[in-house]
């Protein structure tokens, strides 16, 4: 496959992610009805010999980055991000064997959960999707996660980063204990926090490395910290 054709194919993949075009059968978005989606195009790229790392880095991650930036800038909304993530997953399934063989590699491992006492998961899930779309292996511990569960996951994944989410003023106070527990066993692990009641001041006060009001900010922080 020529360089020009390859670049065009990778741009098509990026566009499918950005627009949330999962596969040819998907009616969404209406403007791309009947066209191939991320599912078919990633399979084609592999068949055509495009390197898995290029499919990931120059196609999937590019598309997810665009949607993350638009979401940060309030140009798109949650349904758009969810569809982009769905398209991303459709493409990623073809790359899974290459991650297992080492032909493609994640940027790092990101452990995320909503802190103990809190069951809100939308913000956490959006961050998970954007992180995965940004090239990270994401381990989602779910909601109502105790310090002990975070510590266990950190111990099992040396070199990981950690994301803590809380929506309530009543549960954000549980973050400090978790940050301390994580830092005690992995002082170098970057911990980023997010959620409605939080601020950068609060993040610093509890010993976290950063705070982000949106998923793209969390991704940018981890990329810059790497």
């Amino acid at each position: 496959m020529g360089v020009g054709a390859m670049s065009e194919l990778l741009e098509q993949i990026a566009l499918c992610i950005e627009k949330g075009k999962v596969n040819a059968a998907s009616p969404y978005p209406p403007a791309m009805k009947g066209q191939d989606g991320a599912d078919e195009l990633v399979a084609k790229a592999i068949n055509d010999g495009v390197a898995p790392s290029d499919i990931l880095g120059k196609g999937l991650i590019v598309g997810m980055g665009r949607i993350g930036e638009k979401f940060r800038d309030n140009k798109v909304f949650v349904p758009d991000v969810l569809m982009a993530a769905k398209a991303m997953q459709a493409g990623m399934k073809h790359l899974r064997p290459f991650f297992e063989s080492g032909a493609a590699q994640h940027k790092g491992t990101f452990i995320i959960g909503t802190v103990q006492g809190d069951l809100h998961d939308i913000g956490k899930n959006l961050v998970s999707m954007v992180m995965e779309g940004g090239g990270y292996k994401v381990i989602d511990l779910g909601v109502d996660v105790s310090a002990e569960k975070f510590v266990k996951a950190v111990e099992e994944n040396p070199g990981c980063s950690v994301g803590l989410s809380a929506l309530l003023t009543t549960t954000m106070v549980n973050m400090e204990k978790i940050v301390a527990a994580v830092k005690a066993i992995a002082p170098g692990a970057k911990v980023i926090v997010g959620g409605a009641p939080l601020t950068m001041d609060f993040a610093k006060k509890i010993g976290a490395d950063s705070y982000s009001p949106d998923p793209q900010g969390a991704l940018d922080f981890l990329n810059s910290a790497a």
């Binding site: 769905k86 939308i122 779910g142 909601v143 109502d144 003023t169 409605a196």
Partner: protein, 358 residues
């Protein structure tokens, strides 16, 4: 002026003697303040603080009322249960917690049509008639404004299919979500008709409808108008046809949706969550001629328990928003137990002092 007259006027932005006062509390705050001896055993917060409103939440909207919850899996700490909405919930056995939604039978139109839609019948057994009657009587005894309270279509849909399937559905299959909106709006109106005709009308209607999170709504104003607004119009039009004013609550940042909510017919926006990005003064400047407000006082200031900081928060907002007679004092969400009784008492007293008209 009685509380009932005051809130009626506030919702129409007509002259009153003072701003209104009402509040939501996290469950353990009432318990803590009672244990500390500030409230008598069994004393209500409405009575204690002289709130102007009282509400009754009496509808059961679970789809299949006859479904016996099934235990799918059980551990020492949790129980995984499927409920009458076809949702799988994780219940905690060792501590009180809201159930965690794990999975849903309804992920698309087919699941909705099989597992939920056929069950949404306006049956009398969905209504806690006695509960409504009791709260209505107690409110009348104190001449308080009595509101029927319940959730509207957005909040009725997500227990059935979860936020993610619902929001993806709004993009991929909007007709499916419109059908859910129509069905839940119709169910709500039909149940209101049964209740109100049998037991009498409330003074107003209070819809809970969380449509935003930090710095953004879940969906765009265009999507609101296209998919959600028809349900809001159906339910609000019904209330208005009976002369009932409508207060709508939303957590999160919903400022971009406010023009659409006004088109739908709301009279008052509650709760104006500062920590999510909502700005009471900005909303007042932009919409204060068409809309009353309840809330918008930053609860993070209250739990500093610093009376000077509380005074500053009140002084920065109340003299402005009382301008058109359309304001009810309320925090920007709920009062947690970190707020000391004396701090909240001070908040109410100082707030009403600033909010009294000469």
């Amino acid at each position: 002026m009685t509380s009932r007259e005051r809130i009626h006027n506030i919702l129409k932005r007509r002259p009153v003697d003072r701003i209104g006062v009402y509040e939501h509390f996290w469950g353990d705050t009432h318990k803590k303040w009672t244990q500390e001896g500030h409230l008598k055993e069994g004393e209500s917060l409405e009575d204690h603080f002289g709130f102007d409103m009282q509400m009754a939440w009496v509808f059961n909207s679970v789809a299949n009322l006859d479904f016996e919850p099934q235990i799918i899996e059980e551990t020492d700490e949790t129980r995984l249960v499927r409920d009458g909405n076809g949702a799988t919930l994780r219940l905690h056995k060792l501590h009180d917690a809201t159930p965690e939604h794990v999975d849903f039978l309804v992920r698309d139109r087919a699941g909705w049509e099989e597992h939920v839609k056929p069950f949404l019948k306006p049956e009398r057994r969905r209504i806690n008639i006695e509960g409504y009657r009791d709260v209505r009587r107690r409110a009348a005894e104190q001449d308080r404004f009595f509101a029927w309270a319940g959730v509207n279509v957005f909040e009725l849909m997500h227990p059935v299919c979860g936020h993610e399937y619902m929001l993806m559905g709004m993009a991929v299959d909007p007709d499916w979500v419109r059908d859910m909106v129509d069905a839940y709006a119709e169910l709500t109106v039909n149940l209101m008709e049964i209740l109100f005709e049998e037991e009498g009308y409330p003074d107003g209607v209070f819809f809970y409808e969380d449509m935003g999170f930090k710095q953004r709504p879940f969906f765009s104003l265009d999507m609101y108008r296209d998919i959600i607004q028809p349900g809001h119009k159906r339910t609000i039009d019904y209330a208005k046809s009976k002369g009932l004013p409508v207060i709508m609550h939303s957590c999160g940042y919903v400022a971009p949706l406010v023009p659409g909510m006004i088109e739908s017919g709301i009279d008052c926006l509650q709760v104006i969550e500062v920590k999510a990005g909502m700005d009471l003064l900005e909303l007042y400047r932009e919409f204060g001629d068409r809309l009353s407000f309840m809330g918008g006082m930053d609860v993070r200031v209250l739990y500093t328990n610093d009376k000077a900081a509380i005074d500053r928060e009140l002084a920065a907002k109340i003299p402005v928003v009382k301008g058109r007679f359309g304001y009810v004092l309320h925090s920007d969400h709920s009062i947690p137990n970190q707020v000391e009784y004396a701090s909240y008492r001070h908040f109410v007293e100082r707030g009403l002092e600033l909010g009294t008209y000469a």
